[in-house]
Amino acid sequence: MKRFLLNFGSGLRRILPLLPPILCLIYASFLAFLLFSGKIYLFIQANTVFYSWISMIVLFIIGFFQIIVLVRGWFRRTTSTASEKANFRLPSGFWFAAMPILLMFFLPLRPLSTSLASVKSATINDLGLSREVRAAPSFVINTENRGFLDWVQLFDQNPEPEQYNGLKAKLVGFVLPETDPSTSTFLLTRFVISCCVADARPVSIPVRYDPQKFSFKANEWVEVKGAFQVDEANGERKPILMLQSFQEISPPENPYLN
């Protein structure tokens, strides 16, 4: 019995050095999953995804070669490796490093929600656009082809709402309800990120609908069609999208704008 326990103990000790390389491989596999499924876009900006490919490959290499070295050591059974094995301690950050992986199992993989948007909402549209880089695409003839940011940027550059009167638009975003439900208006919202979700900023376009015909839930992703009108509220004139039709959709693969 004693001997069995001793053997068992040394067996465990032999496995212990395998844990760090295995965690490296798990990290790499997780990155691979995110990259191949496109879920990585839920976390970082599309242009920086390239770096994640590199970290996936590097982590695979680190894990793989360490395992080879360890397994070779077992077969050789040299005295030095035996003493190394006896003294092996897990690296201090091991359990910390395991945390994000465990978290991934419990966390629903979804885009940032309205809750965050409403925390950040007072600054909506106030900032978030690299005005110098983008040229406003006012030359697009079919205004339905204009993207979300194109509109937000146009409103930002030429705030006079009269010039958008009657222009048609087709937009995708999620529903951020107005605090006052009696206005039958919601904010069609997207997050803009330039690096990763840590710098997400909401931008939104107000949409007015006929409460008899349509109803919306917070957080649902929709594709809306409609035409802009001039809205006057509290002495402020701004464009508002009058809803003609809408369609519930699942969140796009890359839910963020940049």
Partner: protein, 303 residues
């Protein structure tokens, strides 16, 4: 209730976002630091380093060109430099200058501000000045060893000892082992910082930060606070800064670009692997004051 749950999940998504964003740069830093420890002998490194106080600090300021690491990658490299026997003040200078004064970041900053190249120039200039000043002040510390975190102090003594006995021979076997060991140590420093940073974002909404003001003085305070809270990587923060251009004063944009790479919530946690809390607190304060000073100078005298 549902709202709170959603918010917590959003916080965790941000946390994972910071981790995934930092991962490649941590790995780059770990790779460079392992190369440094496995391939370069201590004497070689110290021979290259100027002996004089000012010379060594100047060299440390531009070490970022040799090791292009961002604010996550600089920590493993700095730790290795400490272990190799570099003076703590020079390492402190490296720690603060490398994330902004490296070819990658300079290129990105110029790309982000094509019509305002002076922003990139000011960023480099101020980073250099501040990092140099902080290093200079700390170089007068009577017992430089006391600046280091306890664990690192021992490792430094041990590393010198081992190297003199065994010498160095490069082996791939130990390379990957050392790299993975270093990687996990970095994760231990990164994860609490990232967690703290992501939840600060939720508890301290950016509304409050922008509410501080847009004037020539308050905008600087706001942008410094924003850089501190957001903890984005210095490799890409220029694009983020771009989106606040025209809304905030140019001086505050430069403040964001100089302060952010040096100090944010995430990196403060990581510095604890190298220096004592006292040193970190004092240098944060110094950097804050110097950033305020330089950007106020910009807002009032240049723009």
């Amino acid at each position: 209730m549902n709202q709170t749950l959603n918010l917590i999940q959003d916080g965790l998504i941000i946390f994972l976002g910071i981790i995934f964003q930092a991962l490649p740069f941590i790995l780059l830093g770990v790779f460079i630091s392992t190369l440094l420890s496995e391939m370069i002998r201590q004497e070689t490194l110290l021979k290259f380093f100027p002996k004089s106080r000012v010379g060594s600090l100047l060299f440390a300021c531009f070490l970022g060109f040799l090791f292009p690491v961002c604010e996550c990658g600089n920590v493993p490299v700095a730790r290795k430099l400490v272990q190799k026997g570099l003076s703590p003040a020079a390492v402190l200078t490296f720690l603060f200058s490398a994330p902004a004064l490296n070819p990658l970041v300079i290129l990105v900053t110029f790309t982000a501000f094509p019509t305002h190249p002076e922003i990139a120039v000011y960023r480099m200039l101020f980073t250099f000045l501040i990092a140099f000043a902080v290093g200079l002040i700390f170089s007068f510390h009577p017992q430089p060893e006391q600046m280091l975190a306890l664990k690192l102090r021992d490792e430094r003594a041990l590393a010198c000892h081992v190297e003199t006995i065994t010498g160095r021979r490069f082996r791939w076997n130990s390379f990957f082992q050392a790299m993975s060991h270093e990687f996990f140590e970095m994760m231990m420093l990164l994860i609490p910082g990232a967690l703290f940073a992501s939840f600060t974002q939720i508890l301290l909404p950016s509304d409050l930060i922008f509410g501080i003001g847009k004037g020539p003085v308050l905008s600087i305070v706001a942008m410094i606070l924003l850089a501190f809270v957001l903890s984005v990587c210095s490799n890409v923060d220029a694009f983020l800064a771009l989106s606040y251009f025209n809304i905030f004063t140019s001086g505050s944009i430069v403040a964001f670009l100089t302060f952010g790479p040096m100090i944010d919530i995430k990196s403060i946690f990581m510095f604890r692997g190298i220096f004592t809390k006292k040193v970190i607190a004092f240098s944060c304060l110094l950097i804050l004051l110097l950033t305020l000073l330089t950007s106020l100078f910009l807002n009032f005298l240049v723009y």
